[in-house]
C-alpha cells in the first residue's frame, strides 16, 4: 500500500465529514478531499499528516470558495427551484431537516477560525494539530474552542427557541 493510500484510508472519512460540515455540500466536500490527497501525492514528506491534510483542505476551501461563489449561487437557485417540485425524501423528516438547517445557521454564524477549530476538534485533531493547521499558538486553542462551543450552543438554542415560538404562533 502506498503512502497516499494509507493516508486516504486513515483520514478520508474524517476529512470528508469535516469538509461536509464546513461546506454544507457533500459533493463539494468530496471533491476538495480528493484534491487534498492529490496534493499529498506531490509532497515528499509530511510531518504531521493530519494537521497537514486539514490545513490544505481548509486552504483549498478558502481558494475555491472565492472562485465558486457565483457558481454555487446559481446551483443554490436551481436547487431552490427543484425543491418546489419534489417530494421530500422519506428519511428526511421535517424535524431532522429543521435541525440541520438550524445547525447550519448556527455554525455559519461562528467566526471562521472558531468554526474550523471546532470542526477539526470534532474529527479528533489534538490541540497541537489544530494549532498547526490553523497557525494558532497552541495555548490559544482552548480559548478558541471554548468560545466556539459556547457560541454555537447558545445560538442554536436561540434559533430553537424562535422556531418554537413560530410554531406556537402558527398553532394559535
Amino acid at each position: 500500500m502506498t503512502d497516499v493510500e494509507r493516508l486516504f484510508r486513515t483520514y478520508n472519512a474524517a476529512l470528508v465529514r469535516y469538509l461536509t460540515r464546513r461546506l454544507g455540500d457533500r459533493d463539494w466536500a468530496e471533491e476538495v478531499a480528493q484534491e487534498t490527497f492529490v496534493r499529498a501525492l506531490r509532497q515528499t514528506s509530511i510531518q504531521n499528516e493530519r494537521a497537514w491534510l486539514f490545513a490544505v483542505a481548509t486552504n483549498l476551501v478558502r481558494d475555491e470558495a472565492r472562485k465558486d461563489m457565483r457558481r454555487r449561487k446559481h446551483l443554490a437557485l436551481l436547487a431552490e427551484e427543484e425543491r418546489d417540485e419534489m417530494v421530500e425524501p422519506e428519511e428526511t423528516t421535517l424535524e431532522r431537516a429543521q435541525e440541520a438547517a438550524m445547525a447550519r445557521k448556527a455554525v455559519d454564524g461562528l467566526a471562521e477560525r472558531d468554526r474550523l477549530a471546532l470542526l477539526m476538534r470534532e474529527e479528533g485533531l489534538d490541540y497541537n494539530e489544530i494549532a498547526e493547521a490553523l497557525e494558532l499558538s497552541p495555548g490559544s486553542v482552548g480559548t478558541t474552542l471554548s468560545r466556539a462551543r459556547r457560541r454555537l450552543v447558545e445560538s442554536y438554542e436561540a434559533l430553537q427557541k424562535s422556531q418554537e415560538e413560530r410554531e406556537k404562533n402558527a398553532a394559535s
Partner: protein, 390 residues
C-alpha cells in the same frame, strides 16, 4: 490557585493539558463550587456542540463509511440469469442461422463463418416462467446484433450486454444442466464464443483475459465450454464476494441522493441521483432506437438507461445502421451521455428513461473509466433491486 479560565477548563476536559497542570485544575475544581459549575457547563457545551455538528451530517445513513453489504446469490437473480442464458443461446442460434446472410452490414467478418451447422438447438428448459422468456424472446435477434458490432466497439455499451451474458454463464453452468447441454451440442462458431467470453469476463471482472484465445478453435468444444464456465463462475465470484465498488457513504439532500463509491484505493467517484427531469434531453442520443426493446429487456436486471438499448435493439433497421456507424468510428465508441470536465473532475450525466431520474457520475478519471464504473453501479443496483423483490 486562581480560578482557571474557561479555555483552560476546556483544554483540561479535552485532555490537552500537561499532567501537572491538569492535576492542579482538577484539585481546584474539587474545592471550588464556582469552577465546578463552570466545568459542568463546559461539559454541556462540548456535548451540545458535538450534537449540533452531527446534525450537519443530515444524511440518512450518515457520512461514516459503510462497507457495501456482502451479496448472496438470490434465487431470483439466478432465475433471471438463466433466462438471459436462454437469450444468449437463442442469440447464437439466430446468429448462426443468419450469420452468412449478413445482417445489415454487420458482417464485416474477414473470415467467413464456416463452422458447420449440425442441427437446431433442442428446446431449452429453464426454470423461468414462459412469459418472461417470451418477453425476452423479442430481443433475441437484437442481441445477435451485438455480435460483430460488439467486437468492434469494445466499450461500455457492449460490455453491459456482455455482462448479462457473463452473469448468465455462471449460474447456467453451475445450476442448469439442461441449458448447458444444448450449448455443448451446438457447434458454435468460434468468433461468437470469443466475443461472448472475452467481453463477459472483461465486463464483470474488469479484465480482458489475454487467454481468451482459447476459444479460437473453430468449434466450441467442451474444453472451451469449461473455460467459459470457469470464467463465468469466477466472474460471479468477483462480483458477489468482492464488491468492487465500496460505498463510502451516501448523502441525501433536497432533490438528490449522493453516493460515494471507492472504486480503487484513493479513487472515489460520486453518483448523484436527481429526481427532477430537466436533464432528460441529455440522453436523446439513444432515444431513436430504444422504446420497445427496453420493455423486452426490462426483465433483465442489468439493463438501464437508454444507451444499453441501442445494444439490445437490433430489429429496427435504424439501430442496425447506428451500430454500423459506430463501428466505423473507433475514435468515438459510445454515444456518450453528456460529459463535462471541470477542474480535472469528469462528470457524466444520463437519465434512466424508465424512471426519469437523472444521474450524474463524477470523479477524477477518464470518461471511459467512468462509463465502466457506471455499468458496475448499474449492475450492483440491479442486483440490489432484484434482492428486494420477492
Amino acid at each position: 490557585m486562581q480560578h482557571p479560565d474557561e479555555g483552560t477548563i476546556h483544554s483540561w476536559l479535552d485532555g490537552a493539558l500537561a499532567a501537572d497542570e491538569a492535576a492542579r485544575v482538577e484539585a481546584h475544581v474539587k474545592e471550588c463550587p464556582e469552577c465546578a459549575a463552570t466545568v459542568a457547563e463546559a461539559r454541556g457545551f462540548i456535548a451540545g456542540a458535538s450534537r449540533i455538528l452531527t446534525a450537519l451530517d443530515n444524511a440518512p445513513r450518515g457520512v461514516i463509511p459503510a462497507a457495501a453489504p456482502k451479496k448472496r446469490i438470490d434465487p431470483w437473480v439466478l432465475r433471471v440469469a438463466a433466462t438471459v442464458l436462454v437469450v444468449a443461446a437463442g442469440t447464437l442460434l439466430v446468429v448462426r442461422n443468419t450469420g452468412n446472410k449478413s445482417v445489415a452490414g454487420f458482417s464485416t467478418s474477414e473470415e467467413p463463418d464456416s463452422a458447420p451447422i449440425p442441427k437446431p438447438l433442442p428446446p431449452v428448459s429453464v426454470q423461468a416462467d414462459p412469459s418472461r422468456i417470451k418477453a425476452l424472446g423479442s430481443s433475441q435477434t437484437s442481441a445477435g446484433s451485438m455480435k460483430k458490432g460488439a467486437a468492434k466497439v469494445a466499450t461500455s455499451d457492449t460490455s453491459t450486454a456482455a455482462q448479462t451474458l457473463a452473469a448468465a454463464a455462471a449460474p447456467g453452468a453451475v445450476y442448469s444442466a439442461e441449458t448447458r447441454a444444448p450449448a455443448t451440442q451446438a457447434k458454435i462458431p468460434a468468433r461468437e464464443n470469443k466475443v461472448a467470453v472475452g467481453q463477459a469476463s472483461g465486463a464483470v471482472a474488469e479484465r480482458i483475459s489475454s487467454d481468451s484465445g482459447n476459444a479460437d478453435s473453430a468449434v466450441l468444444t467442451s474444453q472451451s465450454l469449461t473455460t467459459l464456465r470457469l470464467r463465468g463462475a469466477n466472474s460471479l465470484d468477483d462480483a458477489s464476494q468482492q464488491p468492487l465498488l465500496k460505498v463510502v457513504g451516501t448523502f441525501r439532500t433536497t432533490g438528490a441522493t449522493v453516493t460515494f463509491y471507492e472504486v480503487a484505493p484513493g479513487d472515489t467517484v460520486t453518483l448523484t441521483e436527481l429526481t427532477s427531469t430537466y436533464l432528460e434531453s441529455v440522453v436523446t442520443t439513444a432515444v431513436g432506437m430504444s422504446s420497445q426493446p427496453r420493455q423486452a429487456a426490462g426483465k433483465a436486471p442489468t439493463v438501464s438507461g437508454g444507451r444499453v438499448d441501442s445494444v439490445v435493439a437490433a430489429p429496427s433497421p435504424q439501430s442496425a445502421a447506428a451500430g454500423v456507424a459506430r463501428s466505423a468510428t473507433p475514435s468515438a465508441p459510445t454515444p456518450a451521455p453528456s460529459v463535462a470536465i471541470a477542474n480535472g473532475v469528469t462528470t457524466i450525466s444520463w437519465a434512466d428513461t424508465a424512471t426519469g431520474k437523472v444521474f450524474k457520475l463524477s470523479g477524477r478519471m477518464s470518461e471511459t473509466r467512468l462509463q465502466q464504473i457506471k455499468i458496475r453501479i448499474d449492475r450492483e443496483k440491479a442486483a440490489a433491486a432484484a434482492k428486494k423483490s420477492p
